[in-house]
Amino acid sequence: MDWLDQQQQYFETLQNFGPRLWDGFVLTVQLTLVGAALAFVIAVILGLMAGSPNLWLRGPARVIIEFFRGTSLLVQLFWVYYVLPLFGLTLESSFTVGVIALGVNYGAYGAEAVRASLTSVSSGQWEATVALSMSWPHKIRRIIFPQAWALMIPSLANLLVHLLKGSAVVYIVGLNDFNFELDQLRRVTDAWFAYAFIGLIAYFLFALVLTQGMRLLEIRAKHRLGQGPTIREILSPAPKMPIASAHPGSTPSLFGGKTPGGQG
């Protein structure tokens, strides 16, 4: 049987395999999105704590962040699945186990991105909130976080793609995710077809969707700070005006970031 015939046969197998593979893919998407949502919540809470001047908030946050960054996702997965029940805490579904492990692991990484972007908001903004006597929750929610948000998106986008790829280890606690189904496909076809072809393309395309989605979020967040064009302008095929001149704030580096667009 020559190579082409074999590939044709593989594609027929793929057709029969389709529904299973699709279910696995949907599970991977769900794990990624729900895990990312949990990771984001954890990242914001830990990041705010780690950026707080209060040692009683900062100290515990640092311990938690270093612990979950410093131990492997696989070990954490085993921990939640096998060790927590020894303490009487049994999670019914493997999906929950996977989401929790992904959430705490990537949440710890994300906390660093949140903390770093909070401190990157210019000191003048923090000082203005002091001069206006704003309380800490108020200034964070209304002034600092909205600006830090635009700064943290690129790091969070990176972590989101890592989380997607990291989700491939959950088959170890019995979840039939995309990676698991790919392995099943490999058994009846071959490694090249299942992994290098179907697996690579599917993971890549999903990652591409995620990064582009995050890019749009970043464009929107920056536009809200008066930097750069709107999403509509980015997506429109022929901009009516040169972007830089239409948006004086879009090239802050040229003006030292202080007085974009000149003064007058």
């Binding site: 210019s122 003048g124 903004q125 000082e127 203005a128 002091v130 001069a131 206006l132 006597s133 704003m134 309380s135 108020h138 209304r142 002034i143 909205p146 600006q147 809200r224 700070l225 008066g226 930097q227 004086p248 704030g249 202080k258 007085t259 974009p260 667009g261 000149g262 003064q263 007058g264």
Partner: protein, 264 residues
């Protein structure tokens, strides 16, 4: 508004104030007071500690020695059994709402419109209703000559316009004390006059106490009741502007004035 206090009580009083950054002593044994409605300009070479004084009053810097009183009440520390004891956060906040500051770099919030910048703190810190704060904001924008910019984003405004919004934002809090920290230093020369004229009007039409750091000597001469010449963290000479500018007694003041007035 704060409780009416004895008109004879100084609005700001520095007692044996010392400020050091590590081993670097910026202010030493500083004693002075500012009366209600008085406008005091601090002049002197850069590094002489003028801006630090404003930042201490705004609680943007930690006071390392001595006491600062606002309306006769301790701003950061009080003396108790011969020791310096920090005041509570609540006490400090209560005093701080009486103080407003305009910064060299404007520090408007880029995630809000001009109007939102102005009404944010009156609503959320002073508890004003939205309609009350908005009405006040519009009249302040009128006053600073920007009645049609309420819904613009700060980054689309010129430097001079941003600074005028920043002045309106500080005045919206009805401060007893207004701190002006080199408010024209980041502006193009041709718009400096506009901003100073607005501040002259504020000085003429209100009873707000002003502590001013500026390199604009003619402005200092016009608006201030008292000029204090600083060098090396100490007051070299102080007096009425006519006296200081026309007939300085101290050699260091003469040197400094001849240098800055030659530039002007």
């Amino acid at each position: 508004m704060p409780t009416p206090t004895d008109p004879e009580t100084p609005v700001i009083e520095f007692v044996d104030v010392e400020k050091r950054f590590g081993d670097n002593i910026v202010l030493k044994d500083l004693n002075f007071s500012v009366r209600r409605g008085e406008r005091v300009t601090l002049i002197g070479p850069s590094g002489s500690g003028k801006t630090t004084i404003l930042r201490l009053v705004m609680t943007l810097e930690e006071l390392t020695g001595g006491y600062i009183f606002v309306d006769g009440e301790p701003l950061t520390h009080r003396e108790k059994d011969g020791k310096r004891v920090p005041v509570s956060a609540k006490e400090q906040k209560q005093l701080r709402t009486r103080i407003g500051m305009v910064f060299q770099q404007f520090n408007l919030f880029p995630n809000m419109t001009v109007l939102e910048n102005i009404i944010e703190a009156p609503i959320h810190v002073l508890g004003q209703s939205k309609s009350e704060a908005t009405a006040k904001a519009h009249s302040l924008l009128e006053q600073v000559g920007l009645p049609d910019k309420a819904n613009e984003h700060p980054m689309s405004l010129s430097g001079g316009q941003q600074q005028r919004v920043a002045i309106a934002r500080a005045l919206a809090m009805d401060p007893e004390i207004l701190l002006l920290d080199e408010v024209t230093s980041a502006l193009d020369p041709e718009v400096v006059g506009d901003v100073l004229n607005i501040l002259r009007t504020v000085a003429d039409t209100t009873n707000v106490t002003m502590l001013i750091v500026t390199h604009e000597m003619s402005f200092a001469r016009d608006v201030s009741h008292k000029v204090m010449m600083f060098d090396g963290g100490r007051v070299v000479e102080e007096g009425a502007p006519e006296k200081i500018f026309s007939d300085p007694t101290h050699e260091r003041t003469k040197q400094f004035l001849s240098a800055v007035l030659r530039d002007a």
